[in-house]
Subunit: 215 residues, 2 copies
Amino acid sequence: MEERMSGFCIAKARTHLRNSNNNKNSNNDYGSGTKCGRWNPTAEQVKVLTELFRSGLRTPSTDQIQKISSQLSFYGKIESKNVFYWFQNHKARERQKRRRVNLDDNDVVLSSSSIISPPSNLIRRDDPFSSSARYFSEMSHNRHLQYYNEEPPAAKAERVIETLQLFPLNSFNEATDHHQYYYGRKEAAAAARGFSCGFSSEMDHPPLDLRLSFL
Amino acid sequence: MEERMSGFCIAKARTHLRNSNNNKNSNNDYGSGTKCGRWNPTAEQVKVLTELFRSGLRTPSTDQIQKISSQLSFYGKIESKNVFYWFQNHKARERQKRRRVNLDDNDVVLSSSSIISPPSNLIRRDDPFSSSARYFSEMSHNRHLQYYNEEPPAAKAERVIETLQLFPLNSFNEATDHHQYYYGRKEAAAAARGFSCGFSSEMDHPPLDLRLSFL
DNA sequence: AACTTATGAATGAACG
DNA sequence: CGTTCATTCATAAGTT
């Protein structure tokens, strides 16, 4: 049972939703609005929140949340929880992003340098989600990061990318030891064990043998 | 029916300047100086991803994503996030589709069985943040159980930053007393500096004076 | 070319 | 907190 039939958004999704007119609306909602209950921040709200974040606020206290919310309500409907979530998400994503970038970065370099030089233009220069932490358009955290010091890169040394060689030449880095994290999915596990990409016969192209064994 | 009209994305904070330049060039010319377009997977990439998905992989771990990305980069430009999103979307859409069908069948049943649906419109608590710091605890949604673990509990010392008082000027809530930053995050306190709620008398304008650079 | 569909990307919300 | 879900936005690709 891996199917996550959680799906019962029904209650929420299908309910026609009250038109929350009690709020008299806000000038925001670019066209949508009334449909769902999901908060849709206005530009100003986002701007302010971003500024706060940028200035270092990461986990506002309850009071702060309330105050911020209060202030932002001027621009449109908003509740405390929205502010709460916003920071929560923003922070998490900021980090996630950074993490991914690091990995990516590492790897790509490797890959390009090895074997078959990739199609020139593949050398990504500026990616939203990578390098330069320039993913979020306007967020640009180009500030002193000293305020948030969170993840010493070294700490994660364990799960590092064991620099598997990327291409088929001799891939299958068994490196994926058995100790792999059972990150849950049975199916995933199953898949990971013996998947050999089906296209063996056609494969007009190279290699890439993905049997997940390398995962 | 859900009209996706969605006027425009005025603020949205990310606005990519749809009008980046001129004509619809949009040649997937990643890597060149221009803005990145969105990832355009090659047939091979899609194939592999699909295979992986079919073989059961639904929510690849970070490592897996990383590796997959590496492998696929052979076929063209690709980043971790692309892989991440791909799976995310693929999974979601499959479910969505299925849900739709499913729901179509017993939508009424559901509705009636769910006990006097409370005035959903009013359910929203105005301020769950009233007192308890750890807020929100009553949503028993019970999604699906999936265990995942790969990160050892980290004893992370919160970095304490000196405090600059928040909302210095005048708050509605007297709560702004000096020890308010005891509430939780010390770091939080550090940040809101300058957030002065100045409800000037100009209601047509941003009342919120953040004194952050704010353009 | 306008319309529709498919899908990449983003993000609010929430779970464990 | 990190992860996952649901929904929406944006845009490339496919259709008419």
